[in-house]
């Protein structure tokens, strides 16, 4: 005859504790892996804009980043930016330069795309549309969420690369051509993969799509 042994009270508590521990370990593994958790993806249907013509929507892994462009400040630069967006040239563009909690940079059309990423040349690519004259503003403050055209060390070398600031960078005022400001989705930008202590990111995050609101 097999004698059934009843579990003691403390054994039952230990058993329940182990089950809870296993469940929480599994769930936290999957939840923590999802970097986009708890991030609002900015549903365009729920948002209204005063100047829809100047609203650009950048779709990233964690959702939409909504950018208002400022043609009044930098008309030529914004015109170029819109052209590149409308030609879908930013689609698949890598955030190859990411300084943690400071800025993210993308837009190398030639050497920084998901289909062709060349680390030996990244940052030097051209759009084929030529360089632009810098449109500097001593009044535009590079606060958190500012969007600006990147350039080489010299002025008047703006082409297609752009950056977005994740904090106020006062020293950039009057140094870079302003393009606009992030209206919604700054927290999405903060989730973009960084290169830890390195300035360039290996296996970077990409722009899924980048469209003007009216064509979205």
């Amino acid at each position: 005859m097999i004698k059934t042994i009843k579990a003691s009270k403390s054994e039952k508590i230990l058993f329940i504790f182990l089950i809870i521990l296993t469940v929480s370990a599994f769930s936290s593994f999957f939840l923590l892996k999802n970097k986009c958790l708890f991030i609002d993806n900015n549903d365009l249907k729920k948002l209204n804009f005063k100047n829809p013509d100047n609203i650009a929507v950048m779709n990233l892994e964690c959702g939409n980043v909504i950018i208002e462009l400022y043609p009044d400040i930098s008309p030529k630069a914004v015109e170029r930016f819109k052209t590149l967006i409308e030609k879908k040239m930013y689609d698949g563009s890598a955030f190859y330069k990411v300084v943690e909690n400071t800025l993210v940079q993308a837009g190398d059309i030639e050497f920084g795309n998901i289909d062709y990423l060349d680390y030996s040349k990244i940052g030097s690519g051209k759009s084929g549309l030529g360089s632009l004259k810098s449109e500097l503003s001593d009044d535009f403050e590079f606060t958190e969420g500012s969007v600006g055209f990147a350039r080489s060390r010299e002025f008047d070398t703006e082409d297609s690369e752009f950056f977005m600031t994740l904090k106020e960078i006062p020293i950039y005022q009057g140094e870079y051509t302003p393009l606009g400001k992030v209206k919604y989705g700054l927290e999405i930008l903060k989730k973009i993969k960084t290169g830890n202590k390195a300035i360039y990111v290996l296996r970077p995050d990409y722009i899924n799509t980048f469209r003007m609101l009216e064509t979205n």
Partner: protein
Amino acid sequence: MKIIILFILIFQFSQVNADEIYNLIKIPNLEIYKLKNENNIRYLNAKGDFKIGVDDNIACNKTNQENLNTKFPTIERNIKRYNSKFLKKINLKYVVFCEGLFISNINTGGIPDNKNRTLILDINFNEKYFERMIHHEIFHMIQNSYEEDFNDQKFSLFNNSDFEYAECSTCSNRLNLDLYENTNGFLTEYSKSIPSEDMAEIFSFLMVNKNLIEEKIKNDPILNKKVNFIKLNISKIDENIL
């Protein structure tokens, strides 16, 4: 081969200084000291020692905050004399403060860098010449931006035919910065080193003690020509500087 290049790049990337000030002017370990100024100049401070240039030949140490706070009003007063338009023309936007500035192991008061629109100043430079040194270094930025107007050969012709400058500013022992009693074409011993230092000395004296120089040139025809040369060419850039 591509894998080797990738490894080299990864290593190099990890060495890159991601600081936003470094991104602009290629000097590490700086912080903002004073950003908003009437003439749009920006003052930066070395919060740590730095080495820059070819083979790290330029080296300077971090500042003592108290020391900088004491000397800043003097620096600001002198740099305020240049308006924003003029500073833009000579490519000067950033003034970097540090202590113990050396270039190729030679102690110097300032290093102008037109390419990065930066003037590095050693705030511990000899107090006696400190204010003049600021204008002296600014002149080098002026000359770098207007090489044709401040042509060395043209300027050298003002000297007596038997006079010869040294090969370079540091390869002679003509280093004294005190004003000569009898000028005889040169304001200081350092003026005799090379033409650009001669011009910079004249400009700096004109900025800090114009009346004295006006007196000196009355009895010194060579110096008179040199001073007029500097005045004329500076006025082409901005009539209100001198």
